[in-house]
């Protein structure tokens, strides 16, 4: 769908993107992650053709990115904005016509979306009369009204209350079901694991990680397990199968976090434990994207 190849973007005194390459599969929900200032917005602006890269190329459906692709991309910037004094119905039509829709088509789809998000009564209101959450809905409609193949959402949930955030999330998933590829740019990791198929992690202008969420998390598995058992006493075990990383004593049960030794199997560990105590539950601890993110970013510093 979108192939970013060796992009370099140099600003006065600092390099915003340094040899960044990303592959975004068709129909995926792709998370573009990174701390503030990592270069996410710079990359998004290049994909949107707001700015041009100094080096490297972007390919959209195997074609070199050009102005005919503008109508196929929908962009919700992090900093939202609408004309304050303009009726929102007119405004949505204007923005969709700028994306290449005819007036009739724009009107039809705007009506459809206004009904869908239950804001049809606001058609003649001005933006300054709306609450922030309402404005976000309007902005979202303006982003997707031209049925883009690629939807780029920069921090889409900021400013939404939980109810509206859910509505928008479902709309995003529906768009994705219908075949749209979605790029999510965020530094809030919890939403990423839930929605994204693949991610790329940017830090200090460089890509430091890319892949499917599952693969990445699996590759960061460290054979760590968390086991709950019923005992009033902490376990004192020295075995060849595992080392104890952490023990937590609670009222009704204890928690132990172990890491398997090289070559050992979880069943070996369980064997030791079962002979000493009553095991209530066992879970593998797979690092969250958040933890991987923090580890990666800190590791570089």
């Amino acid at each position: 769908m979108l192939s970013v190849q060796n992009i370099v973007k140099q600003y006065e005194g600092h390099r915003a993107l340094d040899d960044v390459s990303i592959e975004i599969p068709k129909g995926s929900i792709f998370g573009l992650l990174g701390p503030n200032g990592a270069g996410k917005t710079s990359l998004i602006r290049i994909i949107n053709q707001i700015t041009a890269p100094d080096e490297g190329h972007v390919y959209f459906n195997q074609e070199k990115l050009n102005s005919t692709h503008i109508g196929k991309i929908g962009y919700l910037p992090e900093e939202r904005g609408l004309y304050k004094k303009m009726d929102i119905g007119e405004q949505v039509i204007y923005l969709s016509r700028l994306k290449g829709l005819s007036r009739d088509e724009a009107l039809k789809r705007a009506k459809y979306w206004f009904e869908k998000l239950e804001i049809q009564t606001w058609w003649n209101k001005k933006v300054e009369d709306l609450s922030k959450g309402m404005q976000q809905k309007v902005q979202f409609i303006a982003t997707v009204i031209h049925q883009p193949d690629l939807v780029i959402l920069d921090e889409p949930f900021s400013g939404f209350d939980p109810v509206n955030a859910d509505i928008i999330k479902n709309e995003i998933l529906e768009l994705n079901d219908k075949g749209a590829t979605i790029i999510f740019s965020t530094h809030r990791m919890e939403s990423v694991e839930e929605l994204c198929d693949s991610i790329a992690l940017l830090n200090k202008s460089k890509k430091i990680l890319e892949g499917s969420v599952k693969d990445i998390r699996n590759s960061y598995r460290n054979n760590i397990y968390k086991i709950c058992y019923s005992s009033q006493e902490p376990l004192q075990l020295i075995t060849p199968a595992f080392v104890i990383i952490k023990q937590v004593l609670k009222d009704d049960h204890n928690e132990i976090t172990i890491q398997l030794e090289e070559g050992a199997k979880i069943n070996d560990a369980l064997g030791y434990l079962i002979s000493h105590t009553e095991v209530q539950s066992l879970n593998e601890v797979i690092p969250t994207i958040h933890e991987i993110f923090v580890e990666k970013v800190k590791g570089i510093e």
Binding site: R45, Q49, I50, Y75, G81, Y83, K84, K99, A142
Partner: protein, 434 residues
């Protein structure tokens, strides 16, 4: 291209639909007419509006006794007392001025309770000189009554020799039209230029800019905005011109009807032997003089200079708007824009209008930054065709060049937030690649 039209449409309609536009269109001409009516009324009735000033005359030479003429503003009274005593009387009295004329008629003194007005001094001086001159003439044996009877009020009737023969060279009307044209351009460059700048700042602070330039190129947006606002200005001017011509048309028929009536009344006036320059007379003169100015040509050049002057200045305004985060930060960039405008306007109404063919006038009307105003002053006086074409070509060229420079700053500026823009910064932005 289609997208530029969309932007122009939005910028145009969003402004024309505003109440303030409609109000401006109808109220401003009324305000102007009202203002001139008040000034005219005050000028016409100025004698009634001013207090009568009392002048006490002490004439030791006795030549001036009872010779001063009372005017609507001045009332003369004479005293036979010696000057010292008169002075005491004057200080106690309600008289405003004390005119002391010594025996040798040198060192005349005007004493006053307050600071004397210039017109009062002028009036008294004129009367003193006239009386003294009449005395001299009489002393030389000339009959002043004969002299006065022969004295004619002469007026220069100016006619310009052109290819078509002689034409009325009504300089005063050219003066007026030039002034009004230059003033309108000067004002509108400010008003509409600042509107462009506000529009840019609004888009930037609203952050809608990023949505829009993911659909169109920054240059398209800038051009669309400038042209849209420019069309608003043109619409306003066209409406004003139509309004004024309609009013002038009505006034014209009114005056020409009046002309007929007046012929009869004039006979009566002449019969009474009173000289009277009625205001109706002047009104009719304005209408005939207006015919001598090529209206289409003047309006056409006015619209051209407004449009391109506006395009030139508003692209600079747009670049300034893109460089700042709020209107309060525009101060440091406004001065270099407003300086040439103010400078040209002041020079134009003071010098160019008095000598429209001087080298200074020529250069000011050729340089793109100053030509919209300076040329408007010169147009009604007649400008050689080659100068006009040169000026127009340079203005269009200047507009293209400035727009290219402004667009390069604009495209970087609109995406820069929270960065204090300086001139050095702007130069850097200009040299950025895409």
């Amino acid at each position: 291209m289609n997208k530029i039209l969309l932007i122009i449409q939005r910028e145009y309609l969003s402004r024309v639909k505003k109440k303030s536009f409609i109000v401006m269109t109808f109220v401003v001409p009324l305000l102007f007419i009202g203002m001139y009516a008040i000034i005219g009324y005050m000028f016409y009735k100025k004698d009634e509006l001013t207090d009568i000033q009392k002048v006490l005359v002490i004439d030791d030479s006795k030549d001036f006794i009872n010779k001063f003429k009372n005017t609507p503003a001045l009332e003369f009274r004479y005293s036979q007392q010696p000057s010292e005593a008169a002075r005491g009387e004057f200080e106690r009295s309600t008289d405003d001025y004390l005119l002391l004329i010594p025996k040798d008629k040198k060192n005349l003194q005007l004493l006053s309770q307050k600071k004397p007005g210039i017109s009062v001094i002028g009036d008294i001086e004129t009367q003193v000189n006239e009386i003294a001159r009449t005395r001299q003439l009489v002393a030389a044996g000339i009959d002043t009554s004969v002299l006065n009877a022969k004295q004619a009020q002469l007026r220069l009737n100016t006619r310009q020799i052109t290819e078509k023969g002689e034409e009325d060279a009504s300089s005063w009307l050219a003066y007026g039209i030039g002034f009004v044209g230059a003033f309108l351009i000067y004002m509108s460059l400010f008003i509409y230029g600042v509107q462009v700048m506000r529009g840019v700042i609004e888009e930037k602070t609203n952050r809608i800019i990023e949505v829009i330039i993911s659909s169109v190129k920054p240059f398209q947006l800038m051009l669309g905005k400038i042209v849209g606002v420019g069309l608003v200005g043109l619409t306003q001017f066209l409406l004003w011109i139509v309004l004024c011509l309609t009013i002038a048309g009505f006034a014209g028929t009114y005056f020409s009807k009046d002309l007929h009536l007046k012929d009869q009344s004039k006979e009566q006036i002449i019969a009474k032997g009173i000289q009277n320059d009625s205001p109706v007379d002047e009104g009719a003169a304005i209408i005939t003089a207006l015919d001598s100015i090529p209206l289409g040509y003047t309006i056409g050049t006015f619209l051209f200079y407004f449009l391109f002057g506006f395009l030139l200045y508003s692209s600079i305004f747009a670049a300034v708007g893109s460089a700042v985060d709020s209107e309060t930060e525009t101060q440091q960039f406004m001065l270099p824009i407003t300086m040439p405008l103010i400078f040209t306007f002041i020079i134009s109404i003071n010098f160019v209008i008095n000598s429209p063919d001087s080298p200074l006038a020529f250069w000011l009307s050729i340089i793109p930054f100053t030509s919209p105003i300076a040329m408007m002053i010169r147009i009604p006086f007649g400008v050689p065709v080659w100068e006009l074409i040169l000026s127009m070509v340079l203005l269009v060229g200047g507009f293209l060049l400035i727009t290219l420079i402004a667009a390069r700053i604009y495209r970087v500026g609109i995406l820069m937030y929270g960065k204090k823009a300086s001139y050095r910064e702007l130069i850097k932005w200009f040299s950025y690649k895409e």
